[in-house]
Amino acid sequence: MANHDIAITVRRGTVHALVGENGAGKSTLMKILYGMQKPDEGTIAVDGQQVTFNSPGDAIARGIGMVHQHFMLADYLTVLENVVLGSEKLHGIGDRARARIKEISEAYGLNVRPDAVVEDLGVADRQRVEILKVLYRGARTLILDEPTAVLVPQEVDALFANLRELKAEGLTVIFISHKLGEVLSVADDITVIRRGTTVGTADPANTTPKQLAELMVGSELPSPETRESTVTDVPMLSVSDLRLSAVDPDGVVRSVLDDIAFTIHKGEVLGIAGVEGNGQAELVEAIMGMRTPDAGALTLDGVDISSVPTRKRREDGIGYIPEDRHKHGLLLESPLWENRILGHVSEKPNSNKGLLDLKAARADTQRIVREYDVRTPGIDVTAASLSGGNQQKLIVGREMSHAPKLLIAAHPTRGVDVGAQAQIWDQIREARREGLAVLLISADLDELIGLSDTLRVMFRGRLVADADPATITPEELGSAMTGAATGHLEAHGAPAETDPRTGGEDR
């Protein structure tokens, strides 16, 4: 949380990357630069002039704008309406504003249509709207918080082209990321933050990702590679003909899962690739029993669990690392030891015949904190006071402590620092060797390719393609994620156009 002795100089007209583990203090620093938080000491100077920011408004007045990781757009409004919202005074809300938006869009090659409804836009388009929103307010310095986290590789390239355009026009970009390859390809300067302080700068021209990572972690670089196969032919989870429809906010019934079928064997990691929002979350919730599918059967370790309630499924050995840990994985205002009980209240050591065993639960929380390197002063602090990465380590520790048969890992290392990432990968590999089956959902394609034994691509609620992680590249996978390729993805060649139905079956 705490920042101390941060020194950073950003040159005008450059892309300056800020890298660091999660919990290293990048977000705090950004909040300070954007006026959302006040520093205890130290100064900020813009164009040589010392400034104090009391609110984001002050920062915008000085030409500093922020593009948040989670988009802040109203889905049912048009791009124009979203852009002028809150800045009606600048250029009105009509044709003058429209003209200005077009002007900005053309100047920086953003390709934004002012009258499109945001709901209809893809993730990359929405991000460009966010950037335009900031530019519209007169920003000369843009802060982008992990902008590539939600993009597929092709979209990342497009974003970087936009950033170069901005730079060419004399604007300054501060770019926060922990994807080192991207940082090296786009940044002019790099500042590394570790444990709240700036530990060094790097010149992207003569730095390798490995060197940068070592600077970030202070130790050697982990890798998600798992090559020796532990896949057995004993099915652990079988999903067949799974269908689910949901009512969207407009009241239209829409199919979110369509004809999903796959089998995960003991010792196998099945990776599901896909742009977020294509049904991955619903698939996980259907397997967990949090949603009731319209049709389909689920078999866990030979037992039909289609109509078994969530708690029983968990007791029967499904471990769950949720996509949104704040929503589904933690009680933020409860102490760590109560969070250790969450989801496993009916299992040892947390309880005994209906009564909680506080002593055992607390002792076991201490163990998890120790073994999974959860950085906390103790187990009585609330979950909210930990950094995201440490919260995740606690969740992983909790789920692995009950020796699951099947682990559902949705973005298991999202927002986790490189060191903890390695540890989580190790835990998954370790358990996989002992026969754990894993359903892995991730937006990090390197992680997916590196950890999975089998890969599937999900697009609009269907499993449309499969691939062999040993040969596939992130780019090929990325194009399948946008729906451009289906069937079995052949490495280094044109994707084979086969019937997605047959392609979606087990190999």
Binding site: M1, A2, M290, R313, K327, H328
Partner: protein, 370 residues
């Protein structure tokens, strides 16, 4: 780790204390504005409230209030706002009184039977709101308010001569048939007045509340739903079932609220049976932070304030001034808790950050020296 606990305790006490101080200050301002001297009024209340007969009065009042506070608190822990405790306890007490008046069993059978009847009636009445919420999505706030009105109407209809009520010999008052002597609950023979024996039941209810919520699986599930429905769902709690169950429990406890009065004092349900205690319970649960000890302190404070209000009237003050104090306490409590809660969370986050930074520095030093 002990340090964090102590701080949490301090923060926990800070909010109600702040609220009470603020309430007295505001009341002082009101008194001054109406041209009265505030401090002598507070002096009168404290002096009178400390007298031994006042102490008994306060304990007896607090018994009722405590149960009402518990009933509301069960809902609060679940994020359910059971405004219907009022209707639940009145309907429960009414049917329990009617049944008790009609039977003449030995006390050891009849008293439990009366209490059980009250609890079941209370639970069923609250359960209606639970079922409506789960099946039709009706907010429990709305349904329980309406159920309060319906309860009033039902009691009004049945409490008539020839139905479940009877006219007393003087012909002035309708009530249920009085309970037989054997159904009177025991009392502590204190002087000058007696302390109601039901205080023991209230204390047991408090212990049970604490035990179930903080020591059982069920309690953990209930609190989980209260904190985050989505996390509860993911952790395997059946949220809908939990809503109904907790409404039933809230109603069970609400059923007890009328019992101290019925079994220790009035022995019948008449037009003068105390009303509005369900709403007092909301204030007390808020004041006590849903904590069994906190609720007890809140109930005692409420009893004390009410005792003082009677005396104020004799001394030329308006008794409504106590209403002002109570109202401001509730308002300030709600505000103070939110302020203290946010402050506590922020403070802890900062402390954790500082501690970790210190740890990191230390380990770095060790590396260097090694």
């Amino acid at each position: 780790m002990k340090k964090f606990d102590k701080e949490r305790l301090l923060l926990g006490i800070a909010a109600p204390l702040l609220a009470i101080v603020a309430a007295f200050l505001v009341t002082a301002v009101v008194l001054v504005a109406t041209g009265k001297e505030p401090f002598s009024a507070f002096g009168i209340m404290f002096d009178y409230g400390m007298k031994s007969d006042s102490q008994v009065y306060i304990l007896n009042k607090a018994t009722t209030y405590y149960l009402a506070g518990l009933a509301v608190a069960v809902g609060f822990r679940m994020n359910l706002f059971n405004i219907g405790v009022d209707g639940q306890y009145r309907l429960a007490a009414f049917f329990a009184a009617a049944l008790g008046g009609a039977l003449t069993l030995p006390g050891f059978l009849q008293i439990p039977l009366i209490i059980l009847t009250a609890m079941i009636v209370g639970a069923m009445w609250a359960g209606i709101a639970g079922v409506l919420k789960v099946t039709r999505g009706v907010s429990e706030v709305v349904s329980t308010i309406m159920l309060n009105m319906i309860a009033t109407a039902i009691i009004g209809y049945l409490l008539q001569d020839g139905r479940l009520g009877q006219l007393d010999s003087a012909g002035t008052k309708v009530s249920t048939k009085p309970l037989p002597e054997s159904s009177h609950f025991f009392v502590f023979p204190t002087v000058p007045d007696q302390v109601w024996g039901f205080i023991v039941v209230a204390a047991l209810a408090g212990v049970a509340y604490w035990f179930i919520l903080s020591r059982t699986r069920f309690g953990f599930d209930l609190r989980t739903v209260g904190q985050s429905e989505s996390a509860a769902d993911a952790s395997g709690v059946n949220v809908k079932k939990m809503i109904i169950t907790s409404m039933l429990i809230s109603g069970l406890v609400a059923g007890l609220v009328g019992m101290p009065t019925l079994l220790n004092d009035s022995f019948e349900y008449g037009g003068d049976f105390p009303t509005g205690i369900g709403f007092t319970g909301i204030a007390i649960a808020l004041l006590g932070r849903n904590h069994p000890v906190g609720i007890a302190l809140g109930a005692l404070l409420w009893g004390f304030l009410e005792r003082g209000s009677g005396k104020l009237e004799f001394e030329g003050y308006d008794r409504e001034i106590v209403g002002v104090i109570q109202g401001v306490i509730v308002l300030s409590v709600v505000i103070a808790y939110e302020v203290v809660r946010r402050y506590g969370l922020k403070r802890q986050q900062r402390q954790v950050g500082e501690k970790l930074a210190a740890q990191a520095k230390n380990s770095k030093k060790q590396e260097v020296s090694a």
